[in-house]
Symmetry: C2
Subunit: 135 residues, 2 copies
C-alpha cells in the first residue's frame, strides 16, 4: 500500500512536512498511475535520474500489453506527476488515445536517453519545462 506520509510526518508541523518529505525509489516503482475517474493508465516501472544534477528526470510508465498489443514504456517528466492519496496512485489524465500518441518505446527496447531532441519532444508533449533548465 502506497502512502504519502509516515506516522512521524503526521506528528510534525505542516510546514516541516512540506519542506522535506522524502519518498523511497522502490516505493515509487510499481505504483499505479490513474486518471481522475480512478481508471488505470499504467504502472511506474522505474525512475530515470539525471546524474549531473541528481534530479529525477522521468518516471517510466509501463502501459498496454493487452488485446494483442505489446507493452510500452513512456517516459513521463517527473514534474508532471502528482501523488493523489484518494486515488492511491500518481495522477495523470491521459486518454488511451493520447497515451498511444505519447512518446514511447516497446517495453523491451531502451529509450534513446542520449538524444536531447527526443527529450525536448517529450517535454513539449507534456507541456512542462525541461529538467535541465532551458531548451
Amino acid at each position: 500500500m502506497q502512502t504519502d506520509t509516515t506516522p512521524t510526518d503526521a506528528a510534525q508541523s505542516q510546514s516541516q512536512i512540506q519542506s522535506h518529505t522524502l519518498i523511497a525509489s522502490d516505493r515509487v516503482e510499481g505504483t499505479p498511475v490513474r486518471r481522475s475517474d480512478g481508471s488505470k493508465v499504467g504502472t511506474i516501472e522505474r525512475l530515470m535520474i539525471d546524474k549531473l544534477s541528481g534530479n529525477v528526470a522521468y518516471a517510466v510508465l509501463s502501459f498496454g500489453g493487452f488485446l494483442g498489443m505489446g507493452q510500452k514504456h513512456a517516459p513521463i517528466p517527473w514534474t508532471r506527476l502528482t501523488y493523489d492519496r484518494m486515488l492511491g496512485a500518481y495522477h495523470l489524465d491521459l486518454t488511451d488515445a493520447e497515451l498511444q500518441s505519447a512518446p514511447s518505446v516497446a517495453a523491451d527496447q531502451e529509450f534513446d536517453w542520449g538524444d536531447r531532441s527526443r527529450e525536448v519532444e517529450i517535454h513539449n508533449y507534456y507541456r512542462v519545462p525541461p529538467y535541465w533548465g532551458a531548451y
Copy 2:
C-alpha cells in the same frame, strides 16, 4: 553488470554525454559501494527522493550483518557518491570504524525522515551541502 554509459552515449560527443546522462533507479538499487582499494563498504538499498524538488537526497547504504551484528542502513547524501567504472561500484572511502560511527539505523527500522536536525547531522558528517539548499 552496472555500467555508466550505453553504446548510444559512446557514439555521442563528450559534451552531450556530460550534459544529460540518465541512470535508472532500479539499476542503482543493489549496486555495491567500494573503497579505493576495491574492498566493499556495502550495497545501495534504495534512493530517497525529496518530493518537493524532485532531487535525490540520499542513497541508503546497507552494511554490516556479520559477526553477530545486525545489518544497518546509513543514508549517504547523493552528492557524496560518485560512480567509479574501474571499481564497478560507487566510490566511498569510509573505514569500518567510520562506518560504525556514521548516522545509521537498524535495517528493520525506519529512518526518521521528518527530522531536519538529524538530516543536518548527516550532511555535517559527510561534509557536503544539504540538498534543501541551506541550513
